[in-house]
Subunit: 111 residues, 2 copies
Amino acid sequence: MRQLPEPARESLRLASVLHALGDPIRLELARRARETPESTCSALADGLDVPMSTLSNHWRIMREAGLISMTVDGRHRRIRLRAEDLRDRFPDLLDPILRLAEAEAPTSGTR
Amino acid sequence: MRQLPEPARESLRLASVLHALGDPIRLELARRARETPESTCSALADGLDVPMSTLSNHWRIMREAGLISMTVDGRHRRIRLRAEDLRDRFPDLLDPILRLAEAEAPTSGTR
DNA sequence: TCGACATTTCGGGTTTCTCGAACTAACTTC
DNA sequence: GAAGTTAGTTCGAGAAACCCGAAATGTCGA
């Protein structure tokens, strides 16, 4: 259950976090990661029509920005939003953004 | 006093706005644009050590994302944060972000 | 041990970013 | 009103980032 390298809470940078969220795919992944904690890469990306290799890059960007944590669990990686670290460093950042993403997402309104 | 083209309020996209804010230079420019409305490109970029041509690109990205408005005023461009449009479309997005940027910026704490 | 599975790495092609140099357009000064 | 100055954009080339198919890695189940 090794944990992949990620920046410490104190070294999170606002611009990097915003960059990680500033892509429609990653924004949606972050949204899903929050509502389904401890889920895996492919489960979270279900239905998105983005190739695995591209997704792997998205996860890396999100992890390096400090948005998510990834733990190796067998052949899966479990994704967890670093909600607490982010709330600590950047209060009132993540929650409003993900709420707005929720409201904007066509996948959330339809069905 | 022509106004440069910009997306309508309704067509603002969250990911694009976050992308526009997800760069240290642009984040700082947005911060300054709010505290000094109707200022000009070079006045806002004062002291940043970024070449004009690069700045011009940053302004374009911010304008196309709907973060700012630019009006041609003689040989200047006046920059205005689209705070109202953004608040309307994405409540609780811009204010927290700019407040956090303020707190994080080394230029704000020092001196 | 042999495959199937989840994900990453590699390599290339494409897009985006950066920034100096040349350009444009508007004011100033004579 | 020509000539210079100023504010900003455009162009073009090099650098960096992104995208994605194919191959590789590591793990589980039979």
